[in-house]
């Protein structure tokens, strides 16, 4: 029997029972719609995390000293002095996958301007810092390499610092401030960036040449971090490998020794944070999946009733030459048609719900193509799975008994 004929018969059976079919489909429709909407919410939150992290510089690679054991005492990573300027020079010279590299030393302290003071953090970096962090200046200029070399007492400050110590509205550029009693000349103000994903105020910073911070504020000659950016986001994992190789050689580590430093790309950070939202997504999808399952059981139920109700019809079809396989296919296709139509309507409803959530609840959403494909495939499988048993039951009916069935 040709498939087209089967489709016609199934279509007819569905059309003859519009309301019943629609009610049956409802389970599938709601199931699919919720799977799509839930995945869209999950994807949306993942993407919003990704984009916030990207705004911090998605190519960024951070190198920190690792913990170590000294004289039997395990040391905290922050107490380590294993990252040095030589490491920075080595990376700058040898790494091919990096575009910008900057040393980083940081320390907390009080920023003072006249009678105003404000607790903030000073970051000692080189001019490439702006490119690595993808941040610009709203006024003034960045310090230059010669100023780094000469350990000039110049600083670029963030908006939060400006708001707190220049509350009277004077233009900070050209003004003198003090950080831990060391005077700095403000030469620029950073663009406002707001809080990052982790609630950290990115505008609450004072940026100065690393040489200045090392010598005049912290009195150290090691580095707290080295930050860099890879050529592209895709290169980040390779760049991490490259930096690791360079530093291992630099620190003269033998093959059996562990790294005494950490190299992290933003990519890793993204995946760490995504995994939380992924868990939530899985949970939501599981709930939605259960409703899809219940929808499938609804189909099975209605197909059972349908087979029972149409026993006589089945007998007749067999009498006029319908084979068991024809009957099986007829009911199976009917079930699949119901579930796939339900799937299509569910996708439409799901997309509608997603738009609604985005528009009225202002949650970030993103519909992934795979969610549509998956829920659609699940639908078809549901149809086959739950349609099979009733269809099989119909196909093995004895035509004589079926014909006499009242």
């Amino acid at each position: 029997m040709r498939i087209l004929n089967l489709l016609k018969i199934a279509y007819k059976a569905i059309v003859l029972n519009k309301l019943r079919t629609l009610l049956t489909m409802l389970g599938i429709i709601i199931g699919v719609a919720s799977v799509i909407a839930m995945l869209a919410i999950g994807e949306g939150s993942k993407e919003s995390i990704r984009s916030t992290i990207s705004s911090m510089g998605s190519n960024m690679i951070t190198i920190r000293p690792g913990e170590d054991v000294r004289g039997g005492v395990r040391q905290d990573a922050s107490a380590m002095e294993s990252l040095t300027l030589d490491d920075y020079y080595a990376i700058k010279e040898k790494a091919e996958l990096l575009t910008y590299v900057s040393p980083l030393v940081d320390g907390g302290g009080q920023v003072i301007n006249g009678s105003n003071n404000w607790p903030s953090t000073i970051y000692g970096v080189n001019p490439e810092y702006l490119d690595i962090k993808v941040v610009g200046l709203q006024s003034g200029s960045m310090f230059t390499d010669p100023e780094v070399k000469s350990a000039s007492k110049v600083a670029v400050i963030g908006q939060t610092v400006v708001d707190n110590i220049f509350s009277d509205g004077t233009d900070p550029v050209g003004q003198m401030i003090r950080f831990n009693n060391i005077p700095f000349m403000v030469i620029g103000v950073l663009e406002e960036k707001g809080e990052n994903t982790f609630g950290q105020d990115q505008d609450d910073v004072v940026i100065a040449p690393y040489t200045t911070v090392q010598k005049r504020i912290l009195a150290i000659d090691h580095l707290n971090q080295i930050i860099a950016s890879s050529i592209s986001e895709e290169d980040a994992p390779n760049a991490v490998g490259e930096v690791t190789e360079i530093l291992r050689a630099q620190h003269k580590l033998s093959a059996t020794e562990d790294d005494d430093f950490y190299v992290r790309s933003m990519e890793e950070l993204i995946s760490t944070f995504s995994s939380t939202s992924e868990m939530l997504t899985i949970l939501l999808v599981a709930v939605a999946g259960i409703s899809l399952l219940i929808g499938g059981i609804g189909i099975m139920n209605i197909m059972y009733v349908s087979v029972k109700e149409r026993t006589k019809e089945i007998g007749l079809r067999m009498a006029v030459g319908g084979k068991g396989s024809d009957i099986l296919m007829q009911f199976l296709i009917e079930a699949i048609l119901i579930s796939i139509t339900g799937g299509v309507l569910g996708v439409i409803l799901g997309l509608g719900a997603t738009v609604f959530i985005e528009k009225f609840l202002h949650w970030p959403t993103s519909v992934a193509l795979y969610s549509i494909i998956i829920s659609f495939a699940v639908c078809a499988v549901t149809g086959i799975f739950f349609g099979w048993y009733p269809a099989r039951k119909a196909s093995v009916l004895d035509p004589i008994t079926a014909l006499r069935y009242e």
């Binding site: 007819k12 007749l316 067999m318 009498a319 014909l403």
Partner: protein, 247 residues
Amino acid sequence: MSKEIIKIQDLKRDFTMGTETVHALKGISCTINEGEFVTIMGSSGSGKSTMLNILGCLDQPTSGTYEIDGVKVKDLSRNELATIRNEKIGFIFQSYNLLARTSAIENVELPLLYNSKVSTEERRERAIKALEMVGLADRLHHTPSQLSGGQQQRVAIARSLVNNPVMILADEATGNLDTRTSYEIMSLFQELNKQGITITFVTHEPDIATFSSRTIVLKDGNIIQDYLNDNIQSAAEELAKLPKEDH
């Protein structure tokens, strides 16, 4: 001598009901030739239905042989039986068995749907032709609920004709109809028989048998009578004799 459509020999059919074995057919033999109009008569429990099921390839005999149009039916699988039913037999039932809410033409097309050799266009053409043969050319798109009992049975007859079967098998085809309508249907059967179609008609009404060319009487699983009817009544004439109804 004309072609043998049906040939059964020593046909037995036993049913096991719990511990008891019921011998529904106890070894019957007969031959039906092309162009015959046979009525199979018998009271209930005579084995008439069992015989009909076997003739219709819906059931298999316990022993004995059955040949339809030269094909030995014994040992055929379910699917092969379905194909034989599809290509060689036209069924007509007491309760018409039309698909509800489905137009006459679609009902008639049904057997051809299960025959992949027939194209969509040919299927429609043949269905229209069959409906013309039973006088329902103007009712193609009516559903069963819009048709009278007699018209519904005509649709069923058209359905049985559409696959050009070697034999039409009717099971109490007039059982649900009033006298007038059953005579109309019988006259249609006689007309079809005149065109050379072999008809086997199972009934328990003796007056129906008078319209056929041969009668086989079953009792308790045996053939007790098998005679040619030398005085065939014309259903059309009988119909004319009936008192006119007020419309």
